[in-house]
Amino acid sequence: MRAFVRAVWIVTRKDLLIETRTREIFFTTVFFALACVLVFAFGFVREGRPVEDAAAGILWIAIAFSGTLALGRAFERERHGETLRALLISPIDRPALYVGKLLGILVLLAAVEALVVPLIALMFQAALFDHTLLMLGLLAAGTLGFAAVGTLFAAMLVRARSRDVMLPVLLYPITVPVIIAGVRGTAALLQPEADEPMARAWLAMLVLFDVVFVTLALWTFEPVMTE
C-alpha cells in the first residue's frame, strides 16, 4: 500500500510540477470556464435578475466542458515523446498511474472551481456559499465522478487519431448521471428555501456513482492500457 501511495504521489507531483511551470492547462481551462459563465450570464440574466435554476446548470456545464479540455490536454502531454509508454513499462502498478493522473486533474479542476464558483455566485446572485459544506461535497463528488471516467477514456484515447472528437462523445453519455445529480443537488440548495435533504440525497447518489466509476476504472485501466 505504501508503494502504491508513493507511486501515486510521484506521478501527481510530476504533473503538478509541469503545470506550475507551464500553466498551460490551467490558463486554458480557466479561460474557457470563465468565458462559458460570462456568455451564459448575458443570456440568462435579464435586468439584473437571473433565470431560476440557471446558476446550477451553468456551474456544472462550465465544470464539464472545462474538465473535458483539461483531460484532453493532460494526456496530450504523455503523448508527446510517448512518455506514457515509459510509464507503462515501469514497475509501478498501473492503477497507481491512473490514480496519479486522476489526482493531478482533480487538483487542476479544484483550482478552476475556486474561481468559477464565486463568479457564478456573483453574476447569478446564487447563494452558493450559504451551505458551504454541502456545496463542497457536491462539487468534490461530482468532479471526482466526472474526472474518474474522463481520466480512463483520455488514457484509452491517447493514441487515437480522432481523440479530441472521441473524448466528449464517449465521456458525456456516461457522465450524464453525474452532471444531472450535480445540477439537481446544487439547484436544491439554491432554492429560496434550501432543500437540504434533497441535496443530501443527490450527494449520496454522486458518492455512489463515484464508487462505481472509480472501481470500474481501477479494474479496467490495466487491461485497456495493454495493447
Binding site: 507511486a7 510530476k14 515523446g81 510517448e82 512518455t83 515501469s90 514497475p91 495493447e227
Partner: protein
Amino acid sequence: MRLDFTTLRLIDVSRTFGRRRALNRVSLTVEAGTITALLGHNGAGKSTLLSIAATLLQPSSGRVEYGDRDAAAGAAALRARIGLLGHDLYLYSELTAAENLRFFAKIYSLDAVERRVDAALERAGLAGRRDDIVAGFSRGMRQRLALERALIHEPRLVLLDEPFTGLDEAAREALRVRLRAARAAGAIVVLTTHDTAAIERLTDAAVSLVDGRLAA
C-alpha cells in the same frame, strides 16, 4: 522481488493489427552479455517485436519467455528489469534533464537517486545542462539523455529502437561505448537499426526481419 533472467526467448511469436500481420511466427533466443541487432526496412516489424519484448504489446500467438518466466508471471518485477529506448524518446520536454532522470529513478524505486542522476548526467555529457529544460536540447542531447533514462535502473534486458538516429559520429561512438559496458555488465541488448555501418564491430549477432518474418 528482484527478478533475474539470462535469456530472452521468443517462440513462434505472431502479431496482427486488424488484417495486417506485423510479425509472422518469429522465433529468436538472445543470451545475456550479448548485443543483437534487428535489421530491416521500415515496417518490417522491428518496433513491434521490441514492443512485445518490452511487454507493451501482447503477441497474437506464440509466447515470450524471460528465463523460465513469461510476461504474465511477476509482471511488475519483470518490467523493473527492462529498459526501453523508443524511437520517441520518452522524456518530458517541460522538465529539466535532472528532473527527468530523478522522476524515472523514483518510479523505479531506486536508492541513492541523486548519485545516480549525477552519474547519468555525467555519462550523457550533460552535467553542465542538468537544470536546463529538455525542450531546449538538440536531438543528439535528448537522445543521450533518453539512453541514460532507459539505463538508469541497470536493466537486465535493454531494448533500443533506432538508437543511432540523430547522433553525430562522436555521440555514436559514445553510445557504442555505453552499450559495450551494458554487455560487459551482463545485459541482454537488442537494438533495431537500418544503419548497418553504425553497428559495425558492436553486435554479436544480427537478424533480419522482412515483412514480419525472420530472414536469417
